[in-house]
């Protein structure tokens, strides 16, 4: 039983420790080729898993990707690069062609404007 409590405490400590890790964060917004809900999901779930990224929100009205990140772990340029590798433009950095072509049809740049 002691061991159980020990492990549970450890898990709890890890959880709290991780959420207490609030370093100084920066926020940045990139203009991008995002089109629809599918794009939003792709960008958010992929970019959200990258090192140093704390929150991602794709705004489909303004066609922007807004990122909250820890500048000690990742730079703005690296973020642009990562967005490009997912298949989307980020400001002046154009989407990686291969990644873009692999996106679903509705997320291709040639797709007509649509909402979902």
């Amino acid at each position: 039983m002691k061991k159980v409590i020990g492990v549970l405490t450890l898990v709890l400590a890890l959880t709290l420790g991780a959420s207490a890790q609030k370093h100084k964060t920066d926020e940045v917004s990139f203009a991008s080729s995002v089109k629809c809900g599918m794009c939003k999901k792709t960008v958010e779930s992929n970019l959200g898993k990258e090192k140093g990224v704390q929150a991602v929100n794709v705004d489909l009205k303004d066609h922007t990707i807004n990122v909250v990140y820890n500048p000690k772990k990742v730079s703005k340029d690296e973020l642009k690069d990562k967005i490009s590798k997912i298949g989307y433009d980020a400001d002046e950095v154009v989407a990686d062609q291969k990644a873009h072509d692999a996106l679903p049809g509705c997320c291709q740049k040639t797709a007509k404007a649509h909402k979902d």
Binding site: M1, K3, V4, A18, E44, L47, E50, Q54, K115
Partner: protein
């Protein structure tokens, strides 16, 4: 799907043309909305759906003139439809809400529409237990428990509703998979990374898949050839020295109609693990190669799949240092070499003009060849199986009344030898089945099934079954089921773990098929979309059952039941989440399984089944950080006391009525896992049995394995202590 909606629509319009309100639903650009729900206010049971052109027709009901409209992504609307005209409703898009929609799904969900109480374990839930095969996939599940059959072979068996896994039909994509001689190690033959999802049906199953789903059905869906995941590489290591590698490849060919998948698995354990220093390996050394290749064709009128599978596994357990009976003759060894070859095909004819109609054919041929040695005693088992199932599906009048009917064929050729006992059997079983399903929107679903198997050896088996699902209120669902099932038992494959002993095996008579009736039901309350409470109760009784009797030390008897055998099981399960990344699950299960034993002494004594904890508690907590970057998961099992064999003096003359009972203590098992996700890579570290609890003397008389008291089949708890594992999954979509 659209065509189905049209079908429903057509029926409705034809049935009551004059008293119907008709109209059209469109969006602001005047494009038709298909699939929108139209119903009279406050009467959801009147609901109809719009067709491809946005058209609807709904029968008038007295005293209600307000029609309500709803569709995902649009604001619900209401309209006064008192007159006799054509109504057009323009629905407004609910843009603000849609922006906020984040798809979150729970790891386990109930199939809401199924008349059979069916739990679906998604791939997300399966990731919580990274290791390694089907036998380990139920770690976070309250209904199914998995345990070792003995301390030597590594064989694991599931248990559902307080009953052994042999009464549960295990299928892969509705093809019977783990049955007959394959049951011994079958749970180890389906690698975890091959699994897409698992459906657990509780209570008696559908007559369409056969007779053997007596108390439940576990259907495993494998990774599909035409899903986006093109490549998955998984490697796994644990502190015992177990290593696994899995590689799945799936690809669609250029013409988009053909796709293929290759699922491969290799694993081994080569180290000597003897944590309790009893001179016996706690885990057998083993190696397994497992390959599955299948091709899928999807056309408009034809869907087809063909594939093959190969499995080879070698196990060597027993005393440390054991190599083989010839090179280390003084040591007690356990060996098993199994080879399996399988070919399968699934074909379905579709009728695009009548989407409710279908004709399907499933064919499967399996060769199972296994050779085992328990010390100096050999056991050879061969089983050749041919299986075919032809299913025709159609409707009576409209899609509220559907039915499936067809023919099945099963041929099992068994050839077994244990020591000097020979068991040969050639079963030829043609069968007929018919299943009618009545559905009233999503409120009521009634399934009536009839099956008749014409068994060449055991005669006719008539199997009626009924399943009812009824929504009693918006969030309350009641399910009831009852039905008969049968199977032919295989004493050596099912009692395999008990053979690792000096027990003398006695089959007292010709073993007849096991025939059961299972009754039961469940009540589910969904308080919130992500908070639900489910209560279940099932009762099983046997007309005949194979009794495996190890009450007398030194003897293992198999005989037909004479008297009662009944099992009650209840489960209460609470699930909550996902909410803010948290998921919580708590389950309490009670079982009471009593069988009549005593035939060797001419007695009838009702006794609790051994190795079955009466109470079991499960707690599972998971937390995932935003975007699933990090995931934490912990599972706690509390296994209550269970009856275990008492050591009597060796001898077969003790009366059952005078036997005393002995119980194993309650123990706790804790598992935990942490994983880190990258866009294409997932890395995990976890621990199993973290409390480190293990049985003190899992092998009785370990120092004299050739002596009369040796027994490794009295296992009620873990044999090995804590283990830590790590691994990764790399995916390309």
């Amino acid at each position: 799907m659209n065509r189905l909606i049209i079908a429903i629509f057509l029926f409705h319009s034809a049935a009551a043309l004059s008293q119907n309100v008709k109209g059209k639903v469109a969006d602001q650009t005047n494009s038709a909305i298909a699939g929108a729900t139209v119903s009279w206010a406050g009467k959801p049971q009147t609901a109809v759906m719009t067709d491809e052109n946005g058209m609807f027709s709904i029968a008038r009901i007295p005293a209600e003139e307000r029609l309500t409209f709803s569709f995902i992504g649009f604001k619900p609307d209401t309209l006064y439809a008192s007159g006799d005209r054509f109504y057009v409703l323009i629905m407004k898009e609910n843009t603000t809400d849609l922006q906020e929609v984040v798809v979150k799904s729970a790891g386990t969900a109930l199939d809401k529409m199924s008349p059979i109480h069916t739990q679906i374990i998604s791939s997300k839930e399966l990731l919580k237990a990274a290791c390694c095969n089907l036998s380990e996939s139920f770690e976070t599940n309250a209904s199914i428990s998995v345990g070792n059959t003995d301390a030597v072979t590594g064989s694991r068996q599931i248990q559902l509703l307080g009953m052994s896994g042999s009464y549960v039909q295990t299928t892969t994509e509705n093809i019977p998979a783990i049955r007959g001689l394959g049951q011994t190690f079958g749970m180890n033959y389906i690698p975890g990374t091959w699994i897409q999802s698992i459906d657990i049906g509780k209570g008696v199953g559908s007559v369409v898949t056969g007779a053997e789903n007596m108390v439940g059905q576990v259907n495993v869906e494998l990774k599909k050839p035409d899903l986006p995941e093109k490549l998955l590489l998984n490697m796994y290591f644990n502190t015992f020295g177990r290593a696994e590698a899995n590689l799945n490849i799936a690809r669609k060919l250029k013409n988009q109609k053909w796709s293929y998948a290759l699922l491969s698995h290799g694993s081994l354990l080569k180290s000597e693990i003897d944590q309790n220093d009893d001179g016996f390996r706690d885990l057998p050394k083993y190696q397994q190669i497992n390959l599955l290749n299948r091709w899928k064709y999807s056309g408009e009128r034809l869907m087809a799949q063909v594939g093959g599978r190969f499995l080879s596994e070698d196990r060597a357990g027993g005393q440390t240092g054991f190599k083989s009976n010839t090179s280390t003759p003084g040591l007690y060894g356990f060996q098993n070499n199994t080879k399996r070859y399988e070919l399968f095909s699934k074909t379905a004819l579709l009728f695009p003009e009548a989407p409710y109609r279908g004709l399907g054919l499933i064919l499967n041929g399996t060769l199972h060849d296994s050779e085992s040695w328990f010390g100096k005693t050999p056991y050879f088992g061969k089983q050749n199986t041919l299986y075919g199932n032809l299913i025709y599906q159609d409707i009576f009048g409209n899609t509220n009344h559907t039915y499936k009917t067809g023919l099945s064929f099963l041929n099992d050729v068994f050839d077994e030898q244990y020591g000097s006992i020979f068991l040969d059997r050639n079963e030829v079983v043609p069968g007929l089945f018919f299943e009618y399903n009545y559905k009233n929107t999503d409120k009521t679903s009634i399934l009536l099934g009839l099956r008749n198997d014409f068994h060449n050896l055991y005669g006719n088996f008539f199997l009626p079954r009924v399943h009812i699902m009824q929504k009693l209120a918006a969030n309350h669902t009641l399910r009831l089921s009852a039905g008969r099932g049968y199977r032919v038992p295989n004493p050596f494959a099912e009692g395999y773990g008990m053979l690792v002993s000096s027990r003398s095996v006695r089959i007292l008579e010709d073993l007849r098929p096991e025939v059961s009736w299972t009754f039961g039901g469940s009540y589910v309350i969904d308080f919130l979309p992500n908070l639900s409470l489910s209560g279940e109760f099932y009762h099983t009784r046997f007309e005949n059952q194979m009794i495996s009797d190890m009450e007398h030390d030194g003897y293992l008897y198999f005989y037909n039941l004479e008297g009662k055998s009944r099992t009650n099981s209840a489960l209460l399960e609470l699930t909550y989440g996902p909410v803010n990344g948290w998921e919580f699950k708590a389950g309490y299960r009670y079982v009471n399984n009593k069988q009549t034993v005593g035939k060797p002494m001419g007695e009838k004594v009702l006794m609790d089944k051994m190795f079955l904890p009466q109470d079991r508690l499960l707690l599972n907590i998971g937390y995932s950080f935003p975007y699933d970057k990090w995931k934490l998961d912990g599972t706690l099992h509390v296994n209550g006391r269970q009856r275990i064999p008492v050591s009597h003096p060796i001898g077969d003359d003790m009366s059952y009525a005078e036997m005393t009972s002995q119980y194993a203590p309650t123990y706790i098992n804790l598992n935990g896992q942490i994983s880190r996700n990258y866009p294409k890579l997932e890395v995990y570290v976890g621990g199993e049995n973290l409390t480190g609890f293990k049985m003190k003397n899992p092998v009785i008389s370990a120092s004299q394995p050739f002596g009369p008291e040796f027994d490794a089949g009295r296992i009620w708890g873990p044999v090995t202590g804590a283990t830590v594992y790590t691994g990764f999954r790399y995916k390309i979509k």
